[in-house]
């Protein structure tokens, strides 16, 4: 049973009713097919109405949905022969980030992503997908390797942020993130980044410097969580809903701000409703990106990467 969000209750109720009627007609002589088809039509309208007009806060809930597919779910659907490799060679292995190599179609690629847990036990092991410095350093180690063997890099972004802990600070959380930003800028292989859930601040960005940045329709990408923004700006974390709107954190906002290249559509009701379909949509975009990027020489790639980020931001003169 999937977790139901408040705003989709009318849909779920109607679905239940239809199922009930169908079940009823199965065991009896009465023909209700006309009623059922009316209800199904109404359901379709209702779905379009609700899922087609999601508010920023509703998308935040989608992005955080407990059943939302994670990096490993997509890896399984999109790649072949994924082999996960561990450790940063400096301190430890951070399971909040997974990294390894796999085939995409017939081409070896390096795949890296934040990894949330599916349940409490796994979440504790993976620190709820919030990395320590060693996670970012592991990621960088794999990226350098990808460069050495001329493999494209595909990053999945899905984190509330870098872990705000004592040990993380002691081991240089800032340095680890900064290092990734700088080094990713210079990697001579194509980098494709896809935000699949929450893109939380610097912790997301440290896997997010690339040639093409895509976002799933209902994912978010922001400098701070809506709750954090509300607490900081208005001293009231209860205003998170308002912050979600003001801070411009949805895929549509980011496309408009020219921060991302593409919005990847989600199946009706969100990625968790149909993983196959979702992976299909992503597959299409990854293939397109890779075939576009392989046309560039390493020098062109780096120059274009700089041009891309150079133009982000908005200002005026006095």
């Amino acid at each position: 049973m999937k977790q139901v969000m408040e705003f989709e209750k009318p849909i779920v109720n109607l679905k239940e009713k239809i199922a009930e009627l169908k079940n009823f007609t199965k065991d009896s002589e009465i023909d209700l097919s006309e009623e059922i088809s009316t209800l199904e039509k109404r359901l379709s309208v209702l779905e379009d109405d609700i899922y087609g007009n999601l508010k920023p806060w509703q998308r935040v809930q989608m992005a955080r949905h407990q059943d939302r597919p994670t990096t490993l779910d997509y890896i399984e659907k999109l790649f072949r022969n994924f082999i996960e490799f561990h450790g940063d060679r400096l301190f430890g292995d951070d399971e909040a980030i997974v990294a390894g190599i796999a085939y995409y179609k017939d081409r070896p690629v390096t795949v890296i992503g934040h990894q949330r847990g599916k349940d409490t036990k796994e979440n504790i092991r993976r620190n709820f997908g919030m990395p320590h410095p060693e996670g970012y350093r592991k990621a960088l180690r794999h990226m350098k390797q990808a460069e050495k063997f001329n493999r494209p890099i595909i990053c999945f972004i899905d984190t509330k942020g870098a872990y705000p802990g004592k040990a993380a600070e002691e081991r240089g959380q800032s340095e680890a993130i900064a290092r990734n930003l700088m080094e990713m800028a210079g990697l001579k292989v194509p980098i494709i980044c896809i935000v699949i859930g929450e893109g939380g601040s610097g912790g997301a960005l440290a896997l997010g410097v690339g040639d093409h940045i895509h976002m799933l329709e209902n994912s978010t990408y922001s400098v701070i969580s809506p709750e954090g923004a509300a607490a900081l700006l208005w001293k009231d974390s209860g205003l998170a809903q308002k912050a979600a709107e003001t801070m411009k954190i949805t895929s549509y906002d980011l496309k408009q701000l020219k921060v991302i290249d593409n919005i990847i559509p989600e199946p009706k009701g969100g990625a968790h409703r149909d993983l196959e379909q979702q992976a299909d949509y992503m597959d299409h975009v990854i293939e397109q990106s890779l075939s576009m990027l392989k046309e560039y020489t390493p020098e062109e790639l780096l120059e274009k990467r700089w041009e891309k980020y150079k133009q982000i931001g908005d200002f005026t003169t006095l």
């Binding site: 870098a162 705000p164 600070e169 002691e170 700088m182 610097g202 400098v223 980011l254 980020y309 005026t316």
Partner: protein
Amino acid sequence: MLKDLFGKRKKYATIPNHQAKTDVPEGLMQKCDGCHKIFYRKEMKKNLNVCPNCGHHHPLLAWDRIECLFDMESFQEWDKDLITSNPLQFPGYDEKMEKDRLKTGLNEGVITGKGFIDGQPAAVAVMDSSFRMGSMGSVIGEKIARAIENAREESLPFIIFAASGGARMQEGVLSLMQMTKTSIAIKRFSDAGGLMISVMTHPTTGGVSASFASLGDYNFAEPGALIGFAGRRIIEQTIREKLPDDFQTAEFQLKHGQLDKVVHRQEMKTLFITLLDMHKEGGEIS
């Protein structure tokens, strides 16, 4: 109650006196934030805002820092007129910016430019925490990135004084992306052989510490400066544990291998002169 009728009634109202609150005559004297001793403001300023008694480093305005570092009248400012366009149309943001522009006389929380330090040319970006806590939005990112590009094109060493509470909330994800923009600029500069010196001053946190401030060839800090990624309160709430007093100070970062050196403000210029000189040979960038 009966006794309320005869209760003490104040005959005089006390008018709160601002001067009494601070104990220090406005303008003339300054109290040290470290040892609470009172000094002549002039004396403190002559000492670069470092307490003559306990050595506490008070914030230094960006222009004061430029004045004490660069040779007389050698400094040329870049991109002075860039200001925010309030890209998210964030309510109240324009007013806040206007207020800080009036308060500080700056257009943004960073001054960039070039000049000579004891006869040696250098490009610089100096952040000023008195302007919206030095928070980084599009303008700061752009000014710093342009300064680094200028330094690359003119083959100048680049020095940055960081002072920032982090990303500027009112520009949302655009602020976040300035981390990337500045970091890529540094990569290009570094690949061309440029020398970058970063000095973290109080405070250097969040998105600024997690981007350009940590990317110098040499990373220095002023004594006692707060340096870190996440805020102390957030960490304490997350790990449910009280943090030691020296947590995230410059000395703490030095101990944990995150800094090359903690440098007293008075020794900074001498150190720069030596470093610039040492990197002259072979450090020329093409």
